[in-house]
Amino acid sequence: MAGPMKMRATLAGGGTAAANTEVRVLMTHPMTTAQSGQPLHFIQNLTVKQNGKTVIEAEISQAVSRNPVFSFRLKGGAKGDKIEVSWLDNKGETNKIESAVA
């Protein structure tokens, strides 16, 4: 079972034309590599949605650390926007978290 995730989404420079949405997300994952002697287990895909629309699709390799943290800066945005981050690993396990921009 996938462990917890935690996300913070905040608006930087709110109200101005140069507003940015800053997203910081923590995820629990062993991220084991082929060299660890354990079965290969790592996050392969990362998807970020802003109000239901996919804005980032990323491919992650085994080189990323255990329990990784990612941060993104999305152009524009407003308070209350729904940000959803989900991951899919090589075993087909998945987890997601959704929160509103503060």
Binding site: G3, P4, M5, K6, L26, M27, T28, P30, Q38, S65, R66, N67, V69
Partner: protein, 265 residues
């Protein structure tokens, strides 16, 4: 020899592009960077789930556990430990008290509850998760370990004596490494733990996540590992000696607002 060394240090400081001050600043920058990406919050979430999970022969959670502020009160509990508990007639630190609740409330045997007190990177221990969650509930609260009850005073004095007591294969004491200012091992500064100004920032950030091995570490582990490094026999988990040392260190750090669980190299 000392004069030669300080002369050398001065030269490095005066002419070298990287001074001791710069090194210190770079280390601080690195520590700040790792703290920003710390997965400590994930451990707190897992700990909260464990705190509320019914377990043991009595099939109850730890939610009625009295950590010193009343049954189930977590706010400020960690910052006021170790302290004397009347029901156990003993000074206890967080892990010792948790063990007490596991054996009394949940009806688990001490043997079963201590089978795995220190985890590894693949499977953290129950104590580690719980410590992360409970300590996080003291953020902003000033450290105030018990120091009024005779047993608390006794623990403090014993801890102080242990800190300076040299023994073991290498004839070392805690003070052998933590007794002199401006010493470090590689990037790790060695705080003089018997002085408040050094003990404060350290005690305010333990328990902590260590990035170098992806593990969450408790204070009992920290003391246990110091004893391992000094080549002493392994101290018993939740023993009077480890609680006394923890009492001595936390009392020395009294008044510092708690800001952990921290992130270490």
């Amino acid at each position: 020899m000392n004069r030669f060394l300080s002369g050398l240090l001065f030269l490095t400081w005066a002419c070298g592009p990287v001074s001791a001050q710069d090194t210190k600043k770079e280390i601080q920058k690195y520590q700040q960077m790792i703290a920003e990406g710390s997965p400590v919050e994930l451990f707190e979430l897992e700990g909260e789930a464990l705190w509320k999970k019914p377990q043991g022969p009595h099939n109850v959670s730890l939610e009625k556990c009295d950590l010193g502020q009343g049954p189930g009160v977590l706010k400020a509990a960690y910052a006021r430990l170790p302290r004397y508990f009347k029901d156990a007639d003993r000074v206890m630190d967080l892990e010792t008290r948790l063990l007490h609740c596991m054996t009394t409330l949940q009806g688990r045997s001490r043997e079963e509850a201590t089978k795995r007190v220190f985890g590894n990177e693949n499977q953290p221990s129950e104590m580690e998760y719980l410590s992360a969650y409970i300590a996080s509930q003291s953020r902003g609260v000033k450290l105030a370990a018990g120091r009024s009850h005779p047993k608390e005073k006794e623990a403090y004095e014993l801890g102080k004596a242990l800190f300076f007591h040299r023994a073991g294969a290498w004839d070392m004491s805690c003070a052998s490494c933590h007794g002199e200012e401006n010493k470090r091992i590689r990037m790790q500064e060695l705080p003089v733990m018997s002085k408040p100004q050094f003990a404060r920032p350290i005690m305010a950030t333990w328990p902590a996540y260590r990035v170098s091995n992806s593990q969450f570490k408790t204070m009992q582990w920290r003391l246990n590992d110091c004893y391992r490094q000094m080549r002493y026999p392994e101290p018993n988990f939740a023993s009077d000696a480890t609680i006394a040392l923890n009492t001595f260190l936390t009392v020395t750090a009294a008044g510092e607002p708690y800001r952990g669980p921290g992130t270490k190299r």
